[in-house]
Amino acid sequence: MTAVAPTPALASSRSGRRAASGATMLAAGEPVAWLMAAGLGLALVMISGLLALVLWNGGTTFWPGPIVELRTLDGATLLGEEFRRERYRPDETLLADQSAAVRTAAAQALSGDGWTSRSLLRTANFDVTGTHFTWISDYEIVPDSVGRPEWAIGIERLEFGRFFGFPLRGEEDRRVVAEGEAATWAWFEAHHREVRRLWEERRDLETHEVGGVNRALESERLRLRGIELREGIPAEWVVAWSDLLRTRRGGSAEEIESARTRLAEIEAAGFVPTDRFRAAAAEFEAEEATLNDRFVELTGEIARLDAAMDRFVMVLRTVDGVEKSIPLAEIVRAIPQNQLGVGGRLLVFLDRWREFLLDGPREANSEGGVFPAIFGTVAMTLIMTLAVVPFGVLAALYLREYAKGGAVISAVRIAVNNLAGVPSIVFGVFGLGFFCYVVGASIDQLLFEAKLPNPTFGKGGLLWSSLTLALLTLPVVIVATEEALAAVPRSMREGSYACGASKWQTIRRIVLPRALPGIMTGAILAMARGAGEVAPLMLVGAVKLAPELPIDGVAPFVHPERSFMHLGFHIYDLGFQSQNSEAAKPMVFTTTLLLIVLIALLNLIAIWLRSRLRRRFAGSQF
């Protein structure tokens, strides 16, 4: 805004309303407008500040920076990525422990105002040095010793965090096939992709094939257990019988014999299992044997892949001269960070984002991706919305359209509004107590008896989380719907009644369509509230690491009883439960950024739907 001399109030009132384009804030002579503008401005500054913080920190996490090498006055050489930089005032006691050279340098550096700068260097190589990060004050560094060695390689691997070092040689079957930095790197690039393909094959075998065998085995066992329960077979017989099965597979002759004797003793004591059970048991035995064969086959296949992968090992040298062998299979990504131009860095950046969005987590969630958490968050929010909107709309319809106003209805309204103020963790406790331990346990009793005492629905899961959050967001939907219903003009209802419509016909054909955009607004608010909620989820189903997605290719495809990962919980886990919290910190921002974008996306979809509805019902208002 350009500075404009304030016009005298009289003059401006005489000239009447100014054209909007030329008017300044000063022309609107109401002081209260300034107050309002200040309020809005403060809110905007805070919101955009928060968003900018998240956007900057979250957005730059995956950008590969240069790797710097430097020497300290104490004679140590360090190699790493600069993680963070800050101004600080070193403590006297801190300096007292340092060597004479450092103290001299420090005294010189601090002679001004006592402030200096320091960098947090991600030195990584946790398995060699025992630390991930090192603080380096500016005065500790030997002047002009900072460099960016061309062959410094940053490696992301499956364990122990990152590794920074120089390639030394490549080995196949313990024979050196490449030596020297450039040759080793070329050898690595030639083989890494192939080895990773084997690794992925092995992972798929492990999760899908072996998992499938385990599932089949489990379902066979459950079938047998169901028959056992129905036929009333005593537990001791079953124990003795399964002992016999087990010893037959791998026990010595005496063990088999003793198990057989025990079984015979129980049967001699008067119990003879029914024919039906015997038949089922025989079938189980046969099936188990087949599955075991398959399992052995798979184990062999996995061992073959392991052997094929383990042939390739890269030996690297740390900056201290320690040699470290890393199997190629364990290297997720190796980047010659100091050789890359902007384009190369951008490719790494995008590849890391791809991994973040589409892969599962590794290294206790501090590396890898969050796809299961994205999936869980979206699935939970959608199920919650599907549950809360019909429920809330029905409740609001009754309150507004059918119930006769009175003390009871007023009390119900107050109660609904108060529900919005109940701490969300209380809903979590309620969900755990009611949904998991009462409803879920009853379902288990009725439908999953064979699996007991292991709970199926009687524990936290996607369904119970969604329903708990549906309860939490119910007041939002009820209040919004009631307001939308109240806003439907009386004349429209009367018009419908005058045509001979019943109350329900009027509600269904006139009131609800007209109130739909308002109801959608309620649903949008509920979604935003529910998607960002974490506390209750910790009690009713969100977990640090869920091995399986709640929807997958295994019949019955949708598993609402499964625990799931959630972005909000993931943020909490990264920020407060992580062992390597400094490395997890940027991931906290990135995950937050993702959660915000996800909620914004869900909202945008809902807003788009609402505007479509509005367009259908709106027009030039008479």
């Binding site: 003009p489 004349s491 429209m492 009367e494 018009g495 419908s496 009644y497 005058a498 045509c499 001979g500 419509a501 019943s502 016909q505 054909r509 006139i510 369509p513 007209r514 259908r616 019902f617 709106a618 027009g619 030039s620 208002q621 008479f622």
Partner: protein, 300 residues
């Protein structure tokens, strides 16, 4: 309808007549009303010669403790336009809304007496209100098209009756829109939102909706009060084209409109029917002085 000449409204007398002036007699009648007494309505004999479509019989209505209608009795003739006039708060709209029992929706309303639609009781204990309302149509003061297409607006009454036959619906839609003189204007955009029409068109759409189910009586509650003069004129022409096929009972604040467009006029004051007769006599030769006061603008 060419024979209905619009009667002119007599100018207010400039000089006061003698002691038995109409002012004195008028104030006597009005004083009785103010005391809460029931006043015998003056009904012109022409009314009794008509066929009756709707008969109001000693009808009283109470909003809680307040009595809004005092033993009103009148016969609405078939195939004619009957106008209800009177000062604000005289109960014309209440009477109209009592005919299709819309007042039932208001808490604390109590009625005495009865009405009969073609001989069938309206306030009897075993009357199905929904069925009853299907026999009438109503047009409101402010047009209230539903938030749906023009087509669906018109056939709404049939839709809620469960009519699915496309041919029947199409036919009713066209017939009703033609009856409401709207067909030519909207026939190309039947499936667009009704809310995109102009105010006058919306009101005519409401009339089309009201006549779609062939009502036995068409109730109109000040249908032109929110319209400009040109739209008003169109509605009035439309009303004239509706008779004698339909019977119309219309509430109006606008006396010129009552004089121009109606066959019979009933004048109400404070919940009582005062005078009821052919529009021409009411406006040119009223039997009661208070009627003359009102139509000449000296009262109300």
């Amino acid at each position: 309808m060419t024979d209905r000449a619009a009667p002119t409204i007599p100018a207010a007398p400039t000089t006061r007549p003698g002691p038995t002036s109409i002012d004195a007699r008028a104030s006597r009648n009005l004083a009785a009303i103010a005391r809460g007494e029931t006043v015998q309505a003056v009904v012109h004999e022409e009314v009794d010669r008509e066929q009756v479509v709707l008969e109001v019989d000693g009808f009283s209505l109470f909003y809680g403790g307040y009595q809004a209608l005092h033993r009103v009795s009148m016969k609405v003739p078939r195939g004619k336009i009957t106008a209800l006039i009177g000062p604000s708060g005289c109960g014309k709209t209440t009477l109209l809304r009592s005919v299709n029992r819309l007042n039932d929706l208001i808490d604390g309303v109590r009625v005495e007496g009865d009405m009969r639609l073609n001989g069938d009781s309206i306030y009897g204990r075993d009357v199905d209100v929904i069925e009853l309302r299907k026999r009438m149509g109503m047009v409101f003061q402010k047009s209230n098209p539903f938030p749906m297409s023009i087509y669906e607006n018109v056939v709404y009454a049939l839709r809620i009756d469960g009519q699915r036959d496309r041919r029947v619906l199409d036919e009713v839609c066209e017939r009703s829109l033609r009856a409401a003189a709207l067909w030519d204007e909207v026939k190309d955009r039947l499936h667009e939102s009704a809310l995109g029409m102009s105010g006058g068109q919306q009101q005519r759409l409401c009339i089309a909706r009201a006549v779609a189910a062939e009502p036995e009586v068409l109730l109109m509650d000040e249908p032109c009060s929110a319209l400009d003069p040109i739209a008003t004129q169109k509605i009035e022409e439309l009303m004239e084209s509706l008779v004698p096929h339909y019977s119309v009972l219309i509430v109006t604040h606008n006396m010129q409109q009552a004089a121009r467009a109606s066959d019979y006029t009933a004048y109400m004051v404070l919940g009582r029917l005062i005078e009821y007769g052919p529009t021409q006599s009411i406006f040119q030769n009223p039997k009661l002085p208070e009627t003359e006061d009102y139509i000449t603008g000296r009262f109300g």
